[in-house]
Amino acid sequence: MEKGKYLQIVEIDLRLYRKLNRRKVGLSMGETIVVTSGKGGVGKTTTTANLGTALAFAGYKVVLIDTDIGLRNLDVVMGLENRIVYDIVDVVHGNCRLKQALIKDKRFSSLYLLPAAQTKDKTAISPLEMEDLCEELKEEYDYVLVDCPAGIERGFYNAIAGADKAIVVTTPEVSAVRDADRIIGLLESADLRDPKLIINRIRPRMVKNGDMMDIEDIVDILAVDLIGVVPEDEKIIISTNKGEPAVMDMGSKAGEAFRRIAQRIRGEEVPLMNLEVSNPIMEKLRKLIGMR
């Protein structure tokens, strides 16, 4: 017990020392952003892959961390599943050096992936270890994007441990928004205030017909800042099939939305995408009758 305590104090001291040291040297520090949601299947991994790719495309040094130990998927979405040798657990346990585990992206030389382990579970790493890892990566990368697992257990606490900022992904469904609300509460109690919201898979036509919650409805209820809205897009499925993030497809609406979100992360002000539904037949009819 006593010994454990002592060790912990030493660890904290080391971290503090590193932080101070860095400040002294005046190194520019990157930023760690966790992408989380509570509910599974709302698009965390797709979001992480696309934002990371868009940021790298803009010339930034980016590393993506998959913290979904036991159920890794970011590697597949990025199309890098065949290149994995070491993973995050190997790094934390000292089986390899951090650089050995980082996989360079196929398309961008400034984009890297740190994959999760597939055969271990979430307890294989601790929040403290995660914090150290993020600190170390921030020294070299402009953006460290952490893909959080679903749920609110250990994996969640691991993922948020080293984060400076948080992005919450939701879809316009009661269940997803409810879970997002819970996550926002948990983030706040972990001192990650003002998370930014992404509403994913919105279907403009259904919203127009009053059969889907609108952006305002969700933002009102959750009372957080919106950083982007991503329309439902079949091209996401195609891009996931190929392992090529949709931001690379200039014809993809979702890709366009993710590119805009990446710009906002960099601090630029970009208008929300125009999601108006235009019905070609109706438009023609309208013109014919002379109503605009």
Binding site: N209, M212, I221
Partner: protein
């Protein structure tokens, strides 16, 4: 106007499930937020005691504050046993009213 009519007939589906979703979400979140946060309920209780104590003496031990939910709404239910109404406060008010 004719267009409006046509549009309404052909363009829109009958009832909107969006409002349905919004309302259900609102209700479930009232309950979620309150039940995850005993802290909130405790703060509310303390402030209630403060306010009510200005007017009456209450039995703090026997006080109960909770949220009740049926499928229509969420209701804040407070059961607060009153031991005594404070006379001085009543007199003060009466004096203020007559003057």
């Amino acid at each position: 106007m004719l267009w409006e009519l046509l549009y309404r007939v052909f363009g829109r589906e009958s009832s909107s499930s969006r409002m349905n979703a919004k309302e259900r979400l609102r209700l479930v979140l009232v309950h979620d937020r309150a039940s995850i946060s005993p802290y909130l309920m405790n703060r509310l209780k303390e402030e209630l005691i403060q306010t009510i104590s200005k007017y009456m003496v209450i039995d703090e031990e026997g006080m109960e504050v909770s949220l009740d939910q049926d499928d229509q709404e969420v209701v804040l239910v407070a059961s607060i046993p009153v031991k005594m109404i404070k006379r001085d406060y009543m007199d003060n008010i009466r004096m203020r009213e007559t003057s």
